[in-house]
Amino acid sequence: MKHSILIVLKDSVSSREALEYISLLPFCREDVDITLLHIFRKTSMSEELMGENFTDEETQKWQKQLDNAKNILVSHGLMPEKIHTKLISDAYPTVADGIIDQLKKGNYGTLVLGHKKKSRAEEFVKGDISMKLLRSLEGVAILSIT
């Protein structure tokens, strides 16, 4: 059975662990189709002052990160033509909003993302992508790796 997986990556230990976990799963390599995704969150006004160079550098940095992630999966035996990278340059209000939108646009069966354990206060102030997605999504398997 064909299976399409969306892996959301950000600059975090849990993201790297999520990627490693997926790379070690015994997939049937012909049947699995993986998209590696990074989403930019809309910056606050003061961050905008960092300028276009900063934004360009971030975009280039993330394209490299996604390519590296693809190489990791390929080195574990997955087929390069079945692994896609997707860097969304349009910023979303929150990363969760971006993931929800991308899931609507694609035909993914599984969503994979890293999850950092947070204190209650931290969860309130900073929000929690996994919790938001669990509340908002239906019809997709969510693999949140802590």
Binding site: R41, K42, T43, S44, M45, S46, E47, P93, T94, V95, A96, S119, R120, A121, E122, E123, F124, V125, K126, G127, D128, I129, K132
Partner: protein
């Protein structure tokens, strides 16, 4: 002595009483500085001038560009806060003629500094207003709170208007809500603060609204120090306290008011408890909070 004229407001410290600020075609004479009045301290805010507009003789507040930035820590969570004069200018345009927001116009001086000329909202702030109500809590809860809550709901709906337009107030406090004497409205002031974006972009605004609601329902804040040191008023409440009765982000602030005021309906108390350490579920949007407060209001007070 002839008055000094300032078109460039970069060095706002040097602009003093008697000086004139010239912006667009408006001339304002500085009469003093606004002050931050909190915790019994009065600090002059040198970037906020009291002034009189020469053409009309009307008193105004002139807010000059001060790009302050700092980190604050709430319950161990580090948050980057900063002043954002342009945001306040944009909100002033958005809320033009909205009766629940301070009114004013934003300009830029020749050096690009944002200058906001603000109409003064006359009346006590919400902190002082509640403080001046002299009656016991039970009578306050039944006789006075219904009207206050009705106005709070309107004020919260005004914040919703900001949120649906992708703006945060940024500094929701009980002294940034003014009981405007001439209209009876609760009017929001001072929206130049902002904080770094997170996955819960309105969290700090919601926390501020929770504090205002707590202040209104409790007829003031009640903290651990007060509870343990004023046993004449609080009796043996201190023997019945648990950590989860207190605020999620302010560990001394008592949230579980029903423990002390048992006539507060559970439905009301449950709204407050969303901001306590007991809660596993938090308000993510102002719509969720408004829905719950409205339900309380219409169940018990309407």
């Amino acid at each position: 002595m002839t008055a000094r004229h300032f078109r460039d407001t970069s060095d706002f410290y040097s602009i003093d009483c008697g000086d004139k600020i010239i912006v667009a075609d408006r001339v304002l004479t500085v009469t003093g500085h606004e002050r931050e009045r909190r915790f019994g301290i009065e600090d002059p805010k040198m970037w906020v001038k009291r002034a009189v507009e020469d053409a009309t003789g009307v008193k105004k507040i002139v807010k000059l560009s001060f790009l302050e930035s700092f980190y604050t820590t709430l319950a161990g969570v580090k948050i980057r806060c900063f002043r954002n004069p342009d945001k306040e200018g944009q909100i002033l345009s958005l809320v033009r003629d909205h009766p629940l927001f301070m009114q004013g116009e934003a300009y830029h001086d020749p050096k690009g500094n944002n200058i906001r000329i603000i109409d003064i909202v006359r009346g006590p702030n919400f902190f002082n207003y509640i403080n001046t109500i002299r009656m016991d809590h039970r009578q306050y809860f039944h006789d006075v709170l219904p009207d206050i809550l009705k106005k709070i709901i309107k004020a919260f709906e005004a914040i919703r208007f900001l949120h649906i337009n992708d703006y945060r107030h940024g500094d929701i406090r009980n002294d940034h809500l003014i009981f405007q004497r001439s209209t009876g409205n609760y009017v929001w002031i001072d929206f130049d603060y902002d904080y770094s974006a997170t996955e819960n972009p309105f969290a700090m605004d919601l926390f501020g609204l929770g504090n205002i609601l707590l202040y209104a329902i409790g007829k003031g804040f009640h903290d651990l120090y007060m509870i343990t040191n004023n046993t004449d008023f609080y009796g043996k409440l201190q023997d019945d306290l648990e950590e989860r009765d207190f605020s999620l982000l302010d560990k001394w602030r008592f949230i579980n008011l029903r423990k002390f005021f048992p006539y507060i309906p559970k439905m009301f108390n449950d709204v407050l408890m969303h901001f306590s350490k007991r809660s596993n579920v938090y308000y993510e949007t102002i719509d969720e909070l408004l829905e719950d407060i409205n339900r309380c209001y219409y169940t018990f007070f309407a």
